[in-house]
Symmetry: D2
Subunit: 400 residues, 4 copies
């Protein structure tokens, strides 16, 4: 079960300019609210799978982060209500008791309007702090972390609300959100030469602790696709019996298929002889020209096996990424999520992010249509369990 990333976050080692922080704060906070605008009150409450969080929970949890890690230490700050920490703490074991993840969808209270009042309360206090210029560099660092944290939750919020609406038998549309566009590549594979390359983050920009420690890796000759695998490619795999030939699959992938009766990507439905998929605009026929989406690592691997190709490693992807377009789909790699050489997590509650998830998960690289503007970068490491597929995941192939 996925339970982090978005509660994960960054390491901050140097001062961040306070100017523009107020503006950035307002912009980020407003975007979360505006993503919920098309929803009904009822849509904010439910949790149809344990890896999904109700939108109300995202609204509260991102707010709690600022209250817990910044405001609660400010003299004179008055907690909105002491229950909020209990309701909206996610996994920070160091910070105390919390509602079980699997119970989030059972919590009808606090009601949505109370959560919105909580947001207002915290926003007013933080904005006052920023306007007064009384924010310290350490606090600014945490603030920036909180904004990146909120951007991560915006991504989850979108994929969670898609899951909520897309698993409702009425298939209600969310709105005019565009999930996919045709890639205008020329299908010209990118060649990278054998040798030693540096990967990982260095320098000035924002980053999480898991990207830190720029280091050398040795790569073999590489040929990697400049375009994502399309629905048409994937349909050929399905039509050739890809889901019933154990030979393409990991042993655990095959077991996952059988136990969950998987026959197609998530959100695909076979109706009246053809394939439809649910998108945020509603149910529509699958378009063969668009990049495939909502596949698990197991499916991405099996597809690659069937093609006689393979997924790239995260190091290969990072080295090659300047030579192709990316950003529509999180791309599965063949790399497990593990610490970089010299990795050290931040001490204390803020250190409970990335390190403790470094087992049993696979790395995804790139970004997706759900990623907040400005949030992605070439060294960014996303990660999920291999069976999960409610993110905008996709496939890019490398030559074996």
């Amino acid at each position: 079960m996925k339970s982090r990333s978005m509660d994960g976050n960054g390491a901050l080692e140097k001062e961040i300019p306070v100017t523009h922080l107020l503006d950035r704060y307002k912009r980020t906070r407003n975007r979360t609210v505006s993503l919920c605008a098309p929803l009904r009150v009822e849509d904010h409450v439910v949790q149809p799978a344990v890896f999904v969080s109700p939108p109300k929970w995202h609204l509260g949890h991102t707010t709690w982060f600022f209250e817990q890690f910044i405001l609660s230490g400010i003299a004179g700050y008055k907690l909105f209500a002491k229950d909020m920490a209990f309701m909206f703490n996610s996994y920070y074991e160091a910070v105390g008791e919390r509602v079980l993840r699997s119970d989030r969808g059972n919590m009808s209270r606090p009601a949505l309007d109370e959560v919105m009042a909580y947001r207002d309360h915290v926003d007013r206090a933080l904005e006052k702090l920023l306007e007064a210029g009384s924010i310290t560099p350490a606090m600014a660092g945490i603030l920036e972390l909180g904004l990146n944290h909120e951007e991560q939750h915006q991504e989850l919020l979108l994929t969670d609300l898609k899951y909520i609406l897309g698993h409702n038998p009425l298939f209600p549309a969310y709105g005019p959100f565009q999930e996919s566009k045709v890639e205008n590549g020329i299908s010209c594979p990118v060649e990278i030469e054998r040798g030693v390359y540096a990967i990982g983050h260095s320098g000035e920009g924002y980053h999480f602790d898991n990207e830190l420690g720029r280091h050398l890796v040795h790569l073999e000759d590489l040929t990697i696709g400049d375009m994502l695998v399309t629905n048409g490619d994937y349909l050929r795999f399905m039509e050739s019996g890809g889901y019933s030939e154990h030979d393409h699959w990991h042993s655990e992938g095959w077991q996952w298929l059988q136990e969950n009766d998987i026959k197609a990507p998530l959100y695909w439905h076979h109706m009246k002889g053809s394939w439809y998929n649910y998108t945020l605009q509603g149910l529509a026929p699958v378009d063969r020209t668009l990049p495939v989406c909502h596949v698990s690592f197991y499916e991405a691997f099996a597809f690659a096996e069937w093609k006689g190709m393979r997924l790239p490693t995260e190091a290969e992807w990072e080295v090659a990424q300047g030579r192709f377009n990316w950003g529509q789909r999180w791309e599965w790699t063949q790399s497990a999520y593990l610490p970089y050489p010299g990795y050290r997590r931040v001490p204390g509650a803020l250190g409970e992010y990335n390190g403790k998830f470094m087992v049993n998960q696979m790395v995804l690289r790139g970004a997706s249509v759900a990623t907040a503007p400005g949030h992605s970068r070439p060294t960014y490491r996303n990660f999920f369990h291999p069976h999960l597929r409610w993110q905008y995941t996709g496939i890019r192939l490398a030559r074996r």
Copy 2:
């Protein structure tokens, strides 16, 4: 898992006067809505346990019953929306596909206002039918069944919303609903003499098929309490180690205790050295003078064993019931829920009620504070699995 009764219902073998039906229809339908009045929109959506249904679901399902079994056969009636049957059918296997019971809490749509519009649509059509006097006796019979069905759902609605609010860490109050009152008995046991008695329904009044077939039973001499077991009585059982002495318990009851770490009735919390319980008015200290509530059959049995007494059978209860007060608590009996001699269920979808639940459940007799006015009678047979306790269940003892 409990999945009926309230979707269960009655057999109708004779004409029901159409006069007053319109009034009764309006009164019953309005009562359901008024029970929801203290709730927030969010409270209508969640399902914190599989045996609980979201209030929105009760509002829709009771409405669907009238549309499905009366209106859909009327020339000129226009279905409100064809999705409603799928969303609000409960277990009537004969009537087609339906949302899995365990998924009811994942359904944010139709939104509450759509369900209320559905209610209005159906109510207007039915009221028009009644006002026109064009209702047949068969339809009147189904209508009466539908109203009894809705009364059963009112009871479930109250116990479900108590479960929703009572399992929220904020313990929000529902309102001034009074769940318990002190019994003014003189604790004078009722004596019944050995002999043959008749039980079961006969005559004119409304009834369900499971009460039918008045028949003879032979009873031994009986002494039965004229008052319910109180919280004080039950606390003595707890304080004497009742929950840790396997000797009092059924083997399956003991296993249920261990697996669920049960130490007290449902809604009881040990805080700061004393016992509190959640009621619809909020969290409050347990009052020793009130009748105990929210115990399972396993707990009722273990309590009786500890006292050296026993639970009455349903036949004993029915024969003795005229000699004590009842109506606050559904009272567990020592009888399994089984067909009376000569039991036959109604053919067709309307016959999918009672008969198919006659295994693995125990009979409760009486009525509770959640029972709709006029809904109870001495021959009424309620039934639940022995581990369930979210109804207003209580204990009355007989001598062994």
Copy 3:
């Protein structure tokens, strides 16, 4: 999960003649061993389902009973080994720690020859006691209970070893044991008149506590079959779609069918276009003329519904049983397993038998081909959970 009966047992209220006890002891103990004679060592060890016990366990547990409840109190008796109580106590919570029921099949030690040495040790001590004539009436009572207990385990032993061999893909035969014979009835239903009858045990003979308390019941007019339902009858039910028509089934029975993909009685296999069943003599075509076997209560009920008939209650069966043959199959009744009026269990560890299983189980009446000679009687109450079918269960119908 079934976990008793055979560990259950009787109430003893009066002296039992010591004469013949030695002979009866030897005969009963030897019969258990001889039932195991056709087995390989390996067959004594495994536990392919949680309700099955390894034959080695039956051999040890029946022996432990005599050591624990008789010999351990005798001055000068030396325990064979103190581990045996831990290994072979079954559910007697009052007597201390024990191996979890679900772990019995993981216990390769004590090895079979050690268990047989344990039997010898206990048998020699008990025989010496009996030969010396130094047994008290109380001990004789417990001894008789122990022998009845062992007879119950002989029945379980046979059905457990059938399960072990019958679930092996090689379908090894056990030996020439005959499970079924054609009934030579004339299919002439038995008629019983409405009135008050007495049921339950009284008088001199051996009995368990659950049969005690002979009491009056009032029956309606009854017509009950003089012959058991045959494989041919049951095949017609199957061929007419009985397993795919929800209307015949209890709601929980239907769920049990779906979850376990049940399509026929236990041990039936559809091969090359026809039905075979495994018997202790090996795999053979189903014989339409023999009584059906290995059906659950759910299946017995559904079959009766399909026929427009019903199962008899246990009181009806007991009143009518003198007028038909029985003894091949345990016959499912429509009665739940509940205490008779005035039921009281024996105090102490020996009282942990019947009473604590009186919930969620159905009564079977009669006896089966696996029942020990002389063990059955008209008042005997057997009981199992409604989904279990590895006993030699069958169906007798009554008119609705």
Copy 4:
């Protein structure tokens, strides 16, 4: 659930000298049998955990491998019995139906003597083939694979029988097998300099496909221990509260602790105030000077975190391994089990080994006291799920 390695195996790309093969065949086959010599028949049958296989199954499965992949293609070879493939195929999906892994412990037949007869039958046929000199190079390659496969099963056989005996409440000893010896190091850490190194297999010797593809890796400066972590070191971790401080653990490791109530390594028991552990020689006090054993990856990681150190990667281990002793314990690394660059699996059923397990498992390096003589090498990659610990697993630390 672990389900391979030992059913996994090697790639063979060149001729193997037929000379000495006969001798090696006999030696390897005999060693498997002699490992079982101290067991009782009963010990060969049981399966106390799903990742354990009964010794009887190992005896049959290793035999089946030679019959299936060599003998069945030989003209004139007569199958011992056609059931054996069904009984002893493990996971080779390409080769047909098989007994579910979780059902292996339910199979009392074929009996042990039949399995031994099967071994004899196959051994005689294979030895005849070898003596006749009629074996082809391709067959010799498969034979060598089969012998390595059997050596892997010898290791599993030992750890499985330890699990069987060590989970028996009687704690029977297996025999004089020595599991641990004190390391005579001087605790002088090994230093490796930053740079590019080659890892993976090349050249003549035997190897599996997952080691192939010698390739370059870039390492940072490394300090790695020359001695394994001892029981004494580990007890200090336990005594300092290591199992109750979430901060040391992966999120999934912490969950595993809670769900399984883990408080110490496998086979450790707290008795009368001190720690004992079960070894193949029986139950004995934990010796602080010996290397710790039977820890999961989660525990190894948490221990390292507590020490402020880390586990080495598999590349680091391989580069450094010439400078310390290894071979008592399989050593957990911080590397996930993933394909080396250019990895390709063998086509067909024999290719169903390693590749399909390359997800969700961690690499172990070295060898253990249970490893067959001559079976280990510096490039060998073993792998298990992070929660498993019934192998002889240990911990070596590197500096963070």
